[in-house]
């Protein structure tokens, strides 16, 4: 049995019990799947309710206690010899072992270091499949049209792709899954946990943001627009103007009301501020174009990639936006030729909210591992605490799920990562992962 199949194997009865929940939540949520006029907040609330029911129906008989030599809560100081108590998929207590007793009969997990489950603020895992085969599992990008906001990541996400289990094995419990940044608007993102049950059962936010991109990867070579940056921007502007007019006309109650348009509905929600853009721009001038469009249309924007962000720090700060910084080990080619391992540290020092990401890879590694990208950032100026926050609570805030995940606090989802040493050290191992109170194996070992 190889490492991957081992990582895929269920490891606790709780996981099997979860299967019944799958169909239940599918039924409960079927009415939600496309209702663009609902706000993101109401979507979050609805899903929260569904997940809560789901977990309650399949609770542990007893609880789970996770004991750590160091417990990084990301909601306060590190707790030496700490404990996290878990019941019904939620955290019920966090503190020092000397102050919190573990009830008798509870299952116990112990590790040198315990952190919140890691939150990957921008990934293509589950969409960009491990095999990387067209018509097989290569579902990260549809190039038939340059602008397709109607496409949803949730409809392509393969929760059982081996790479979902792979990243979970290193502590990643929540992923902001996005189409790849290879066309102007490749579709909607969603936020999903990594239990591997299914896109619906694992969804935290079924439609989180609208992926949008500028730069060389969106440019075509001939006869298909856009072939230049000016055209790319013009196409985006034209589409948003169309969406604005559509929105105005849709409110009419006469025969001039336009027919439903799956793409313009989504962009109208963007213009209302109901859903932000996850805007990929790496070159400094692409970043500035993104800010210019934000200025014109007033949409909410989260910048991602941003390889040259440190050259336009003042503009980014003035725009009041957050940045999901490129993978720290991104290869210095193409639009990312000037990428720096110190981008995250520089932006954070300038007071710009940041998170880190695994991003997208078209070849190998088919997915980067968030933990490893954060480790390099930690060692190259960001520091351990800030790097850990950038892959937990700060990431959760940035993608709008901090009420559920990202820190170890009473009432939050019981998502934890356990390590046998400093999580960022090359030779440390992730020994276990907990999601909604359910225990999964850590990284593949012999």
């Amino acid at each position: 049995m190889n490492g991957l199949s081992k990582a895929l194997a269920p490891c606790s009865p709780a996981r099997e019990r979860g299967d019944g929940c799958l169909s239940e939540s599918r039924c409960s949520r079927s009415g939600l799947l496309f209702q663009p006029r609902r706000t993101v907040i109401s979507l979050i609330n609805s899903v929260t309710a569904v997940v809560a029911v789901c977990v309650a129906a399949h609770a542990h008989a007893g609880g789970l206690a996770v004991l750590g030599g160091k417990v990084h809560t990301q909601a306060g100081p590190v707790i030496e010899n700490g404990v996290v108590l878990i019941e019904d998929g939620r955290i019920t207590a966090v503190g020092a072992q000397s102050e919190i007793a573990v009830p008798e009969g509870w299952e116990k997990l112990t590790a040198a270091v315990v952190t919140p489950g890691l939150v990957d603020a921008h990934s293509t895992v589950g969409l960009a499949g491990a095999l990387n085969q067209a018509k097989g599992d290569k579902d990260e990008l549809d190039k038939t049209e340059a602008i397709q906001p109607g496409l949803r990541a949730i409809d392509a996400f393969n929760a059982r792709d081996p790479l979902v289990a792979w990243v979970r094995g290193f502590g990643v419990t929540t992923v902001h899954a996005s189409p790849a940044a290879g066309s102007l608007i490749p579709g909607q993102t969603f936020v999903v946990k990594t239990t591997g049950r299914g896109a619906d059962a694992d969804a935290l936010v079924p439609s989180a943001m609208v992926a949008t991109s500028l730069g060389s990867p969106v440019l075509e070579t001939e006869r298909k627009a856009p072939t230049t940056r000016s055209k790319a921007a013009a196409m985006l502007r034209a589409e948003f103007i169309k969406a604005r007019e559509y929105e105005e006309k849709r409110s009419r109650d006469d025969d001039k009301k336009p027919a439903f348009n799956i793409n313009l509905e989504v962009l109208a929600a963007v213009l209302r501020g109901d859903i932000p853009l996850l805007f990929t721009a790496n070159r400094h001038h692409d970043i500035l174009t993104a800010l210019r469009l934000k200025e014109e249309f007033g949409f909410k924007l989260i910048l991602t990639g941003a390889a040259e962000a440190s050259t336009v720090i003042d503009d980014i700060r003035a725009a009041g936006i957050a940045v999901i910084v490129h993978p720290t080990m991104a290869r210095p080619f193409g639009d990312r030729e000037n990428v720096s391992m110190e981008t995250a540290a520089k932006l954070r020092a300038a007071g710009i909210p940041i998170a880190l990401q695994s991003g997208y890879e078209g070849y190998v590694p088919r997915t980067r591992v968030l933990l490893f990208e954060a480790a390099i950032a930690a060692a190259r100026g960001l520091g351990q605490e800030a790097a850990l926050s950038a892959i937990t609570i700060d990431a959760a805030r940035l993608i709008g799920v901090a009420d559920r995940v990202g820190s170890l606090e009473k009432g939050k989802d019981a998502d934890l990562a356990l390590y046998d040493g400093d999580p960022f050290e090359y030779t440390t191992h992730c020994t276990n992962v907990v999601i909604n109170g359910e225990v999964f194996p850590g990284e593949p070992r012999e």
Partner: protein, 443 residues
């Protein structure tokens, strides 16, 4: 004469920037003694408080403090708290641009050296990663991809200044071959694995006959066959003068390489060997070395789904000679130490992992008697680190090639190549087999 090392380094940098060939640089005649460092020699147990003396581009002496005489007049550099290890050797890299000739599956006459640009920033980034010797290879899109070149990363704009030459002054290198999915395509490329192997066999049989004709001709030039650059190269392989570096991933493809080696008796290094952990015993029995790559996740292509970081540990236990490689740009050369650390993470011993970056790859390139370890008489190729080579918090401080400093983190230009920033990357997209336009969203 005592030399201010910092001034000397700056002088070298300036000269190199001005484009002067390495041969014109100040030769290192004055001995330099490094004291106080932990020295990982890769040939002996580590020396806790070591003394290392270099002169004339070679290692003069190494040993524990007190056991090594520091020559009179030597420049003494106190590097207490540092770790010194041999310059890192990479058996598989694509520094400086590479090639995948797409006109046919057999390209033995091609020399990758004719397509390299030593001004490419990748060379500077490799030095920032502590790499001093490299086997630069053609891509894996052909059954026989061409001649590889073994380079020492001296600072020069002329590739000719970078060659590692043999005793007769000729540039050294191997032959790139590949099987599995990469060389498979549409005609004239093979469409199956069986055809891939048949093409390789056919070429080697032709080369054997070519060599026999030459041998039979003796001194009679009229009986010599017309010179054939491709067969001439393959004949060198058959004569054991040129090592085959064979791209291979899946366990059955690995065994196919062993079968070819058995038939033709060439020297081969298995490259990538993703399924090595599955067929480690077979590899050990064949006595074939493995150079492996540790990428951050399996997959990306069909034949690497079972890639596991435990391969290095499994091969170590099986008694196989193991090295790591970057396949730069697949692994950025600045993260090469990390590749070996992932091997340690998956069970390899630290000593073996260190050798897998230094002396083992040197041996795979038939250069083990000249470089790859810190021993008297060998090239003074060194890496000075500020801590454990396998810690994420460690940074290469200095890299030395043949007694000359070629990277120094305290010099802003060098630091830029180490961490990135404006001008540190490639002018244009990555190429090779790996980042094609089919990838759409490649950033």
């Amino acid at each position: 004469m005592r030399v201010n090392p910092f001034a000397l380094r700056r002088a070298c940098l300036l000269v190199a920037l001005c484009g002067a060939p390495a041969a014109l640089l100040h030769s290192q005649e004055n001995p330099i003694a490094f004291t106080g460092a932990r020295i990982e020699t890769a040939s002996t147990p580590p020396i806790g408080d070591g003394v290392l003396v270099i002169q004339g581009g070679k290692i003069l002496a190494v040993g524990p403090a007190g056991s090594v005489a520091i020559p009179e007049g030597a420049e003494v550099r106190d590097v207490a708290g540092s770790v010194i290890m041999p310059g890192i050797v990479d058996t598989h890299s694509h520094l400086g641009g590479t090639m995948n000739e797409r006109s046919g599956p057999v390209q033995a006459e091609l020399r990758v050296l004719d397509s390299l640009d030593p001004r490419d920033g990748a060379f500077r980034r490799a030095l920032a990663g502590g790499i001093t010797s490299v086997n630069v290879m053609p891509g894996s899109g052909n059954v026989i991809g061409g001649q590889t070149i073994y380079l020492k990363l001296r600072r020069s704009v002329d590739v000719g200044d970078l060659y590692i030459r043999d005793a007769d002054g000729r540039p050294t290198g191997g032959l790139k071959m590949a099987n599995g999915t990469n060389p498979i395509g549409t005609a004239p490329y093979p469409t199956t694995r069986a055809k891939t192997a048949a093409i390789a066999r056919t070429e080697f049989i032709k080369a054997r006959e070519y060599a026999e004709k030459i041998a039979r001709a003796g001194d009679d030039a009229s009986k010599l066959p017309p010179r054939d650059l491709s067969l001439e190269t393959l004949a060198e392989v058959l004569a054991g003068k040129r090592v085959v570096h064979h791209h291979t991933h899946r366990q059955d493809d690995i065994l196919t390489v062993l079968r070819l080696k058995e038939e033709f008796g060439f020297k081969v290094v298995l490259q990538h060997v993703s399924d090595a952990w599955i067929v480690a015993d077979e590899i050990a029995r064949a006595g074939v070395p493995c150079s492996i790559i540790n990428v951050d996740s399996p997959g990306g292509k069909l034949e690497t789904m079972d890639l596991s970081w435990k391969s290095a540990a499994v091969l170590e236990k099986a008694g196989v000679l193991v090295a790591f490689h970057t396949d730069d740009p697949i692994i950025d050369s600045r993260f090469f130490l990390r590749s070996a650390a992932l091997g340690v993470r998956a069970g390899m011993s630290r000593d073996a992992a260190l050798r897998a970056l230094t002396i083992n790859p040197a041996r795979m390139m038939d250069l083990g008697d000249r470089l790859g370890s810190i021993e008297p008489g060998k090239d003074a190729d060194l890496v000075i680190l500020n801590g454990d080579p396998f810690s994420v918090y460690t940074q290469v401080q200095e890299t030395w090639v043949e007694g000359r400093p070629v990277f120094d983190i305290s010099i802003p230009e060098d630091r830029k190549y180490a961490f990135g920033g404006d001008g540190a990357g490639a002018r244009g997209p990555a190429h090779l087999c790996c980042f094609g336009d089919s990838e759409g969203g490649v950033e």
